[in-house]
């Protein structure tokens, strides 16, 4: 089911039966993530924040996946580009602004980590680090726990295509295959690992081509088509819950922005390529689809835009007004307290 990326793309809604309200909610989550992300770039250019790493262009696979899973019931180990996934699961622009500004009350790490290192216990989103692909064997471990307990949850993880060169990816996926674990591994293949193009990461044309070596299902999807992404993640979740094991999903997408606020992508790729991919922008594509289907109209779009701006303005203002964490918070949370009731007396 490879997708021809050279034709002018629409939205493949085959096999997707979602109510109009849900489709609008998916649009809203994509838009909200896009506008939040764009605001972060503006704040960086204004010198107000130190760092931003962008998920622009990746909203379709992230929102599609988020809607195909059960937030707070399934487990998620998303990677640093997954702002849209996190927002769709219950993270908020307010949370993200606190992270960007590094302020007190930042919920995922107490502002100990750089922004976009997700983790929300109440949503079953497991804390992430910067060394890439470390989350893959961990996600397999989560899936093993689910299987050992006989639960119908799934473990979801994501990473970039460059990260699939890490041993962690292979070792984690190998466990998933050996034990038929309820794992969904989504690779958001945006062609570049910072500057290194995909043909210098791997000799096979598709990340998903590696699935047979793990003994898991491999799926390629147009990562800029939110409904196609929703469908394949939904199918993977059903496969996982019915004992069919893990799925490796490769979402073909693109990163129209530099890797991060410290990157200059003009040093490694032509502008024409970036412009070409912008025509396949996942948000614009989904908007056109919803307009044509009569699920959205221009007024509704304007309302969503106003709602996003208002929410993000409010989040930014709150973060800018928030104090920095007390310096001595640097000393906290080294060890979790031992539950003395579990320890018999000597």
């Amino acid at each position: 089911m490879a997708t021809d990326l050279e034709t002018r793309p629409g939205i493949d809604d085959s096999g997707v039966q979602l109510e109009a309200a849900t489709l609008r909610e998916m649009y809203w989550q994509m838009l909200r993530a896009r506008r939040t992300d764009e605001r972060a770039w503006v704040l960086h250019r204004q010198g107000k924040i130190a760092f931003h790493i962008s998920g622009i262009g990746h909203e379709a696979i992230q929102v599609g996946a988020a809607f195909a899973l059960r937030p707070g019931y399934d487990y998620a180990l998303p990677y640093y580009r997954d702002l849209a996934f996190n927002l769709a699961w219950g993270y908020t622009p307010h949370d993200f602004m606190l992270a960007l500004f590094g302020r007190e009350g930042e919920p995922t790490s107490g502002a100990r980590q750089m922004p976009s290192h997700w983790g929300t216990r109440s949503l079953n989103i497991i804390s992430q680090s910067s060394p890439v692909a470390t989350q893959v064997p961990q996600a397999a471990g989560v899936a093993l726990a689910i299987k050992l307990r006989g639960e119908d949850r799934v473990a979801y993880t994501s990473l970039g295509e460059g990260s699939t060169s890490q041993g962690d990816f292979y070792e984690g996926m190998n466990w998933a295959g050996v034990h038929k674990l309820p794992l969904i591994c989504v690779v958001e293949n945006n062609i570049y690992a910072i500057s290194v193009p995909v043909h210098l990461q791997m000799a096979v044309p598709n990340v998903a081509d590696r699935a047979p070596m793990f003994g898991v299902e491999g799926v390629i999807v147009d990562g800029n088509d939110v409904l196609a992404c929703y469908r394949v993640v939904k199918e993977a979740a059903e496969r996982a819950r019915s004992g069919g094991g893990a799925t490796l999903i490769e979402a073909k997408t693109y990163r129209p922005t530099p890797h991060s606020s410290d990157d200059d992508d003009r040093t490694y790729r032509p502008r024409e390529e970036v412009e070409q991919w912008k025509k396949r922008d996942p948000l614009a594509r989904f908007q056109a689809y919803l307009l044509e289907a009569g699920i959205l109209d221009e007024q509704a779009i304007a309302d969503y835009e106003a709602r996003a701006r208002e929410e993000i303005d409010r989040a930014q203002a709150a973060a800018e007004a928030a104090p920095f964490p007390p310096p001595e918070a640097a000393l906290g949370d080294v060890f979790a307290p031992v539950d003395e009731t579990l320890r018999a007396e000597e």
């Binding site: 487990y75 930042e106 919920p107 995922t108 790490s109 107490g110 100990r112 980590q113 290192h117 983790g119 929300t120 216990r121 497991i126 804390s127 680090s129 910067s130 060394p131 470390t134 893959v136 064997p137 961990q138 996600a139 397999a140 471990g141 989560v142 899936a143 093993l144 726990a145 689910i146 050992l148 473990a155 041993g167 962690d168 070792e171 984690g172 190998n174 466990w175 050996v178 906290g332 949370d333 080294v334 060890f335 979790a336 307290p337 031992v338 539950d339 579990l342 320890r343 018999a344 007396e345 000597e346």
Partner: protein, 328 residues
């Protein structure tokens, strides 16, 4: 109290914890029907089944990575790394992930994980079956590092490790698996992670040691007491991280002289930190040079018996070091 070997005590601890808590499971290479290459898990597969004692692929990174994930999802994994020498592929998972999870998540996510691994030389294992790796991990806040020296402590500390909400590295002196015997209390007990243990009292000097070196140190202490009339105090560190500074400093305030024995390379080994703490916080009690007896600074423990003996601290070398220090 029944007497048993170190490895029997370790197995009994795992057996009891598997029985006590269904969240506990074991994974590692050859831990299943084979019972581990050292027989630490012997019989547990038959008793608890393939869902509780899981043979892993031959990939240490994944053994720890899987353990971290399962721990995050509420399980209590015991991961066996077959030899400490092979823990290095898992270094990133331990250092970047397990150690930092609680801190980086603002106290939201815990990793209640035990990593057991046999360490140390003196068994003809050469460069890659003899390493002491404790200093790498004791350096990183967020990890607890435990090395038992007696069967009683091995069982009690391992049971505490399984119940601890933090990642615990549990290094076992493999040369002592069947060599070290001792009494183990009957029935349920634990030994808390944290406190060091004064295992011999004396006024002349303090020897700090752990694991196999503690075993030899007690013998050396008896030798110098009988032959030279030197009374050593011996401190079994037991928990290398976080360190029991009070017990370490308390003994030094009493004797004023310190010898630290470890079988790792000397340079930046665990004893260096003990020496630094004593000189910094115990300076006014100091009555002689703070001495370290350790392996030489070469890349590994050599295989040939002659060279291995040269490398390893043992009873005679410890006794000599005690005499030299006592003469100050």
């Amino acid at each position: 109290m029944p007497e048993m070997t170190l490895i029997d005590a370790i197995r009994e601890a795992m057996d009891e914890e598997l029985a006590r808590d269904e969240r506990v499971f074991i994974t590692g290479e050859d831990v299943g029907p084979r019972g581990g290459v050292f027989r630490a898990t012997m019989g547990l597969y038959d008793k608890y089944g393939p869902d509780r004692v899981i043979d892993s692929p031959l990939a240490e990174l994944s053994i720890v990575g899987i353990g971290i994930g399962a721990a995050l999802a509420g399980m209590r994994p015991i991961c066996e790394i077959q030899f400490a020498d092979f823990i290095h592929p898992a270094f990133n998972q331990i250092i970047s992930e397990a150690a930092r999870m609680y801190y980086r998540s603002n106290g939201e996510w815990t990793v209640p994980l035990v990593i057991r691994s046999p360490y140390g030389g003196g068994i003809g294992g050469g460069l890659y079956h003899s390493q002491s790796v404790e200093a790498f991990f004791a350096h990183v806040p967020g990890l607890k590092v435990v090395i038992p020296a007696t069967p009683r402590d091995a069982k009690g500390l391992l049971k505490s490790a399984v119940r601890d909400p933090n990642p615990v590295l549990f290094f076992e002196p493999k040369k002592g698996y069947r060599l070290i015997r001792g009494e183990v209390p009957e029935g349920e007990y634990t030994v808390p992670i944290g406190p060091a243990n004064v295992t011999r009292e004396g006024d002349d000097l303090t020897v700090y040691a752990y694991g196999m070196m503690h075993y030899y140190t007690l013998q050396a202490a008896e030798q110098v007491a009988a032959q030279d009339g030197i009374q050593c105090e011996v401190v079994d560190i037991r928990t290398l991280a976080p360190l029991d500074r009070e017990t370490v400093l308390g003994s030094f305030r009493k004797t004023g002289k310190a010898l630290i024995v470890y079988e790792d390379n000397r340079f930046l080994g665990y004893g260096a930190e003990i020496a630094a703490i004593l000189s910094d916080e115990g300076f006014e009690y100091m009555d002689g040079p703070i001495r370290r007896l350790a392996g030489p600074d070469v890349p590994g423990v050599p295989f040939a018996h002659s060279m291995e003996r040269f490398f390893m601290p043992g009873v005679e070398k410890i006794a000599d070091a005690i005499r030299e220090l006592a003469a100050y």
